[in-house]
Symmetry: C2
Subunit: 311 residues, 2 copies
Amino acid sequence: MSGRQSIEESVIARAVQLAGSPSARAPIGAGDDMALVSVGTAKVLFAVDQVVEGIHFRAGTPLDLVARKAVARNVSDIAAMGGLPSACVASATLPSDMSAADARTLVDAVAHWAQSFDCPLVGGDTAVHTVASAPLTLSVTVLASVRSDGIIARRSGACAGDTLLLGGAVGGSFGADGLGRHLHIEPRVSQAQQLIDQLGGSVHAMIDISDGLGRDAARIAHASGLRTGRSLQARLRGDQIPLRSGVTLRQGLCDGEDHELLAAIEAGAPIPAGWTAIGSIVTPQHGDTRGCVVDVAGGEQDASDLGWTHG
Amino acid sequence: MSGRQSIEESVIARAVQLAGSPSARAPIGAGDDMALVSVGTAKVLFAVDQVVEGIHFRAGTPLDLVARKAVARNVSDIAAMGGLPSACVASATLPSDMSAADARTLVDAVAHWAQSFDCPLVGGDTAVHTVASAPLTLSVTVLASVRSDGIIARRSGACAGDTLLLGGAVGGSFGADGLGRHLHIEPRVSQAQQLIDQLGGSVHAMIDISDGLGRDAARIAHASGLRTGRSLQARLRGDQIPLRSGVTLRQGLCDGEDHELLAAIEAGAPIPAGWTAIGSIVTPQHGDTRGCVVDVAGGEQDASDLGWTHG
């Protein structure tokens, strides 16, 4: 783990400490994929996520794909909460040498992808760096509505015994050239809605895999353990995890930015088409603090910290 | 006007072109201080604004004041729409040499000021630049509710004959040292609410002065002219404009980031305490395309383009 990463994690931890507790204004605060906010008499889902050149994409990546990634990773958060996209706003800080034509390409692409993911762009802010070589930053904030039945899929809702379902294949999202599937995220809004339509409140928890299956499974276990006051662990069956073509199990556990959905559903609930049961939520042995363990041929492996770290 | 500024303006113009038209999803789109978005059956106000080192504040500015400015200029937009703050999220890109202690100071300050302005921080995202000397960027997105009587103060609601009211004194927001009042914005949420409480639908338009009184008055005239299909002009009386101590009229018209409110109210409506009538909305003579004209001793002055441009 680099020094940069640890600063990011400490900032996030501090923000969760300051803004994570439920309140009348924010029944769900910082720490889940989105916050749930009271706005007048309504409740809305609300989250921000940014992409930065040199961290989330390489210099030279086509601006259309930069815009797509910035919008799609946010809409993927909406999917993970079981929300329905409403609208987005974007703020961009542009390199000082970006041409007016490129700036226009970027805003057109943000608007295009936002519309394409049913989360139209409704506002924004742009600044141009004064420092030469300062990288492109694109921050997108999304708003979403809660389903009419009120079901919200939090990462903290899992219980011991729940089945873990994966909504797609994982691994190999980064090409050696810096391109690859991480630039072509398909937010799984419809898939999430269909799961909740079919299983209702038996969908206990959900997350979109952004930092690696192992790490994100551990997050569900950890958040749900905090909620229940009992330690929980995600236990995956290595031979059941759907992998992208040419990908090893380790890559499937580690590679970030898959943006497939991982759900915890009530034990015994039917498994809808398109989902694969890959393990379960268990009560670990006393003293076992591992958040995610994978059963593999010949033993088990701690996957809690195998995730990919940005930068 | 610098090349940078023209890129920013062309991006904004393009975004308004793409996302400014009213729709079922966004009854108010890009181009006002905030968008109005349909989220399920509710309607909420939604906007983003960022501060960037080297543009909105100088390197070395205390992080507490950077955070305050980032939050306050957004809450000022809520005030200008007649909205009630609900919550905010923030994304930050940190210089690669920022210490963990400074990063924590920044997140603490964002949370502090957000709470202080009754718009609590509920989520965020942090990245650390990989490029040395890349500047600090802090983007804040706010959510607000509409008043229970449904009144929203748009910049486009003014009519010929309306009185223009200014909610405070203007000018001199930037000290020679880069510090000054622009870092100590007081969002005028209560003042805006009191105005609408007293005058109701007679408050036709409102804006917070971010780019100079002359330029922002011209914006009300321009947007309202587009709405009515008739050219409109803001006509200010130079001797009536409240100026900060030691500030010339020209500075009062030009200096940006006052963040006082400018409202257009129905002709003849009473002028509440704390507000000063500084002019009116008029129908200009045929062919007069100036958005804001100031009457001064010995003549008149075009103030439409006197505003301050960031960077």
